[in-house]
């Protein structure tokens, strides 16, 4: 279980995240939503120890994240940030193999190879696994990085806007795969999302931030309604039901 307790982070004097406490439920997809600059990515970075909190703490299984041994933590929690510029030339398979580093320390065993094969297949990259990353489209690259995180085989998978720069088809593919990770493999996924409708359709729980503060935290159906959304986004957002999915029709809302 991951618990966030009173997390605050300031850049300069301005607090970017202020006193946020959330418990991440296991075996669910939790989405972080909110307007630009709400502190979603910063919060995710603190959970994954990419960034130290100024005050407050993050607990994984009741133990402070900072006290975990790096290599052990990497077997439990993985994080994928949005910008992944790499200046070495790697093939997809080589990149995915890095996901096994916490277990193998660079010397891959037969079991590691099995995980790598599975992860590559999971992301539909088997045919192109020997292509170099710089030969791929944005969507394929993104899938390769997600495959690396899958190969890492952690209980918790944290993703920072994984749908950025992806077209509709690939966005849906990736969200379906994340759903499968949770439903079939019992993982816990925490994801920062920009598109409210992806959050509505695919997540179990939603955590909404605004100006660095927690404004809503609950099951998806409690958050996706016009009242709650007005509080988060300062917009009137009508909601329509389509095949059991709640869709926010915000495109021509009054702002």
């Amino acid at each position: 279980m991951i618990e966030l307790k009173g997390l605050t982070k300031r850049f300069g004097k301005k607090p970017v995240v202020e006193d946020v406490s959330v418990t991440i439920e296991q075996g669910k997809i939790t989405s972080f939503i909110g307007p630009n600059g709400a502190g979603k990515s910063t919060l995710l970075s603190m959970v994954s120890r990419l960034l130290d909190a100024d005050t407050g703490e993050v607990l994984l299984d009741k133990n402070d994240v900072k006290k975990w041994k790096s290599s052990e933590f990497a077997k439990r929690v993985s994080i994928l940030k949005q910008a992944n510029y790499i200046n070495v030339r790697l093939t997809i398979r080589e990149l995915v193999a890095f996901g096994r580093y916490p277990y193998s320390n660079g010397r891959l065993t037969a079991e590691d190879e099995k995980f790598i094969d599975q992860a590559i297949e999971y992301m539909n990259l088997t045919e192109m696994q020997d292509k170099f990353l710089d030969e791929l489209s944005g969507g394929q690259r993104q899938r390769a990085f997600i495959a690396m995180v899958i190969a890492q085989d952690t209980d918790y998978v944290l993703l920072d806007e994984p749908l950025n720069n992806l077209d509709m088809k690939h966005s849906v593919q990736i969200m379906k795969i994340l759903r499968k990770l949770v439903d079939e493999l019992g993982k816990t996924v925490v994801i920062v999302l920009h598109d409210i409708n992806f959050a509505s359709v695919y997540s179990d729980r939603i955590v909404a931030l605004k100006n660095g503060k927690l404004v809503k935290n609950g099951p998806t159906h409690e958050i996706i309604n016009s009242d709650a959304l007005r509080e988060i986004y300062d917009m009137d957002i009508p909601i329509q039901e389509q095949n059991g999915c709640r869709i926010c029709v915000y495109f021509n809302s009054h702002t």
């Binding site: 990419l50 994928l80 940030k81 790499i86 990149l95 660079g106 890492q152």
Partner: protein, 318 residues
């Protein structure tokens, strides 16, 4: 992989040919006199080559760039500062110059401290530390360079001449007393390096991915900074500063051996260094008949290569 091992064997054979040529070609005036002398120089060149190649490759990995080298952090200048201060205040007849171990120790300690202070001071703010580090390094390098020039203008002319021979790279005038310490340092560096090879590979994925994969990133960066400083100090003390050499060999290694594996990259860069230094010195002695020095040629070719890399980089970025 097999392709790369063939390339490495090819480089190794070439390096051995260079060493044999340098050792045996046209030996005059007594084999027993000339051969050990030549081997001493070869040893110095091999050590220098490996130290520079190794430190540059790991430095470029932690800074995620392929253009800047440890000398950009002002490390070379720090060596010049230490030597100039010693000559200025103690003079060339003092124990700090005559005892070469003392001199070497002072230089190493100053350079490592310099790297650490820079690091500690800058890492209290945790935003883009590497870029800041490099920028400040460049400015400090200039500052230290100016300080050196200032002191050299004031110094006694005879002392200045003594100082100058120490500050110009030379393979014909190797500081041979330090050879054994240098070998020891290199061995220690390789024992440590063997343990972090895999981590270095992961580091090339960038800070965030490296932390995700369980690397204790900030501590590793600091250890590598120290390693880099010690290696550069060693090579500088042995033969003097050669600014652009690390840049050439590291980049040739990246281009020739297309891989992310540091074990391969560092071995390749080291072999290329040995070929360039020993082969180059052979040409200087037997073709150019000592009318120029190797460091002049290296800095000339390296400077051109540096401009080429800058242009290439700016084109691919734009």
């Amino acid at each position: 992989m097999r392709n790369n091992s063939t390339k490495l064997i090819f480089l190794a054979v070439l390096a051995i040919i260079c060493i044999l040529l340098y050792g045996f070609y046209d030996i005059k005036g007594g084999f027993d006199y000339a051969f050990p002398k030549r081997m001493m120089r070869v040893a110095a060149m091999v050590i220098t080559g490996i130290a520079i190649a190794y430190s540059t490759v790991v430095f470029q990995t932690i800074t995620h760039n392929r253009i800047l080298t440890p000398s950009v952090m002002g490390l070379d200048s720090m060596y010049e500062v230490v030597q100039t201060l010693i000559y200025f205040f103690a003079g060339s007849m003092s124990i700090w110059v005559l005892n070469k171990y003392l001199n070497f120790g002072a230089a190493i300690i100053a350079m490592v401290l310099f790297a650490l202070v820079l690091y500690r001071f800058l890492f209290r703010a945790d935003k883009h530390p590497i870029y800041l580090l490099l920028l400040i390094g460049m400015i400090l390098g200039t500052l230290l360079g100016s300080l050196v020039t200032f002191l050299q203008v004031l110094i006694d002319p005879v002392e200045y001449l003594n100082l100058q021979t120490r500050l110009f790279a030379s393979f014909t005038n190797v500081n041979s007393d330090l050879l054994y310490i240098a070998i020891g340092i290199l061995l220690l560096a390789f024992i440590y390096g063997y343990r972090i090879m895999g981590k270095l590979d992961v580091m090339s994925l960038g800070r965030e991915n490296a932390i995700n994969l369980g690397i204790n990133y900030d501590r590793l960066v600091m250890n590598i900074l120290i390693l880099s400083s010690v290696l550069i100090a060693t090579s500088t003390a042995l033969v003097g500063p050669i600014t652009f050499f690390g840049l050439i060999v590291a980049n040739l290694s990246y281009q020739y051996l297309v891989t992310y594996r540091h074990s391969v990259l560092i071995l390749g860069a080291s072999l290329i260094s040995i070929i360039a230094l020993v082969g180059g010195q052979f040409l200087i002695e037997h073709v150019f008949e000592l009318r120029t020095t190797l460091s002049v040629i290296i800095n000339f070719i390296g400077g051109i290569y540096f401009i080429y890399l800058l242009l290439k980089e700016s084109r691919s970025a734009g």
